[in-house]
Symmetry: C2
DNA sequence: AGACCTGGTTTTGTATACAATTATGCGCTG
DNA sequence: CAGCGCATAATTGTATACAAAACCAGGTCT
């Protein structure tokens, strides 16, 4: 390999696949890698100076999360959730997140409130800024807020579920979103945080439910790609 | 779709690793492999005549489901969920399953009802019979009923979440259960199915919530193993 | 022209080899 | 006889080799 000497800063074993998985995860969630992109094992391995063995482990992990699709003998690619799956993602979020908000309201501390408001500030900053990098930061901050609320609720299993749902949501929005209701969403985020801060769990849960409705309402479940051709011919 | 029972489980990599994963999954869920059991790659490979490569993929998949724990450089073992994790499992089920029952009631067909009643019959049969094999069948049937209700609700993502939660529940019950409230549970299963069959979603959801409460009430969250020694010394 | 074979190329699936790490057993010492 | 090192065995982490499958391009036949 390219490392004849043992000067590696972090030679931690077992962390290599996790590193690659996280990098790919971030790249997919903030849309540097868009749905449908082929993920060739050799390329990724070359990029991260790792063997296919560890790359495969990383891809498998992402496949479990549903954001990468593995087709036998055909390799991995960034998932393209169907409209049906997209609906299921938001149904699942509607089922989980209001309850999570309710639980969070019962356990939230002053430090938690400060952290959430920090997230809001970061998000506002990203929204105000221009450029694709700011868009990525916005997506990241928005997801982070939802995940932070889940973390406050204190259930790691549900947090993990939500992590998957948030990641899949990003793919769904990339495919079916019609731009710009983000500012609306940010305002809703503020209200949710306010409700949580005042300990009003019921209100937070209700706001969260509406928030998810609004996000989904901004989508246009027209199948992308080949189906759009078919639809165009019909019109 | 008003799908039958067919819920495709989890993304499959090859077919080989999936086979091993499913076999191990079943073995863990119906307690032929108990919490803490070491899972050595070579042994499993020899058992299934497969190389360590595929075995590792299978173990990784099970680790992602939370029923196998992977410690770096130390290998895999059947998970021993802590009382804390156990509580989180049931909290998560309380958050998901009543809503799933509600959704199922709105979509259930006559064929679905017949299938659920078939499950009830199988379960009753297993309960009546003696021996460890019957116990395994009982556990299996009980889990299958919950998963079938999820399948009727028609959300594959939530079905997968519940699949994980049911599997983890089996580990939790193996560790902290104090035997025999199963018959009680079966009765509750019958009532839930009846509510679903009559289209009474609210009732089904409420019954489901209580059912989960009852399952958890039968647990004794005393840490097994070393902690019990400590407790014994204190008494 | 279009469908269809066909060879070479790419990419994945699986096994295996070797290095790194952890577990184990045994003799030694006090 | 308990405790401690140290050599050795087991086991995991990672890279690589090779076979099978899919992909691609060009040429042939109808």
């Amino acid at each position: 390999m390219s490392t004849p000497t043992r000067t590696e800063p972090i030679p931690r074993t077992g962390t290599r696949a996790g590193e690659i998985r996280d990098q790919l995860h971030d790249a997919i969630v903030d849309r540097r890698l868009t749905p449908g992109t082929k993920l060739v094992e050799d390329e990724i391995g070359a990029t991260f100076s790792a063997s296919r063995t560890v790359v495969r482990a990383a891809l498998q992990a992402l496949a479990f999360d549903g954001i990468v699709t593995l087709e036998p003998n055909r390799g991995a690619s960034v998932s393209k959730p169907s409209p049906e799956v997209a609906r299921q993602v938001f149904d699942a979020r509607r089922m989980i997140e209001p309850g999570l908000a309710l639980a969070a309201a019962a356990r939230i501390t002053a430090a938690d409130v400060a952290m959430l408001e920090q997230h809001l500030a970061t998000e506002a900053e990203a929204i105000a800024a221009r450029g694709p990098s700011a868009r990525r930061a916005e997506i990241h901050a928005s997801g982070e807020l939802h995940l932070s609320i889940a973390a406050i609720a204190g259930n790691e299993i549900l947090s993990r579920f939500l992590r998957e749902l948030v990641a899949r949501s990003s793919l769904v929005i990339a495919l079916y979103g019609r731009s710009g209701a983000s500012s609306c969403a940010r305002d809703e985020h503020g209200r949710i945080v306010a409700a949580l801060a005042s300990g009003n769990g019921r209100a937070a849960a209700e706001l969260m439910r509406h928030h998810i409705d609004h996000i989904e309402a901004d989508l246009d479940y027209q199948p992308a790609g080949e189906a759009s051709i078919r639809d165009l011919l019909k019109l």
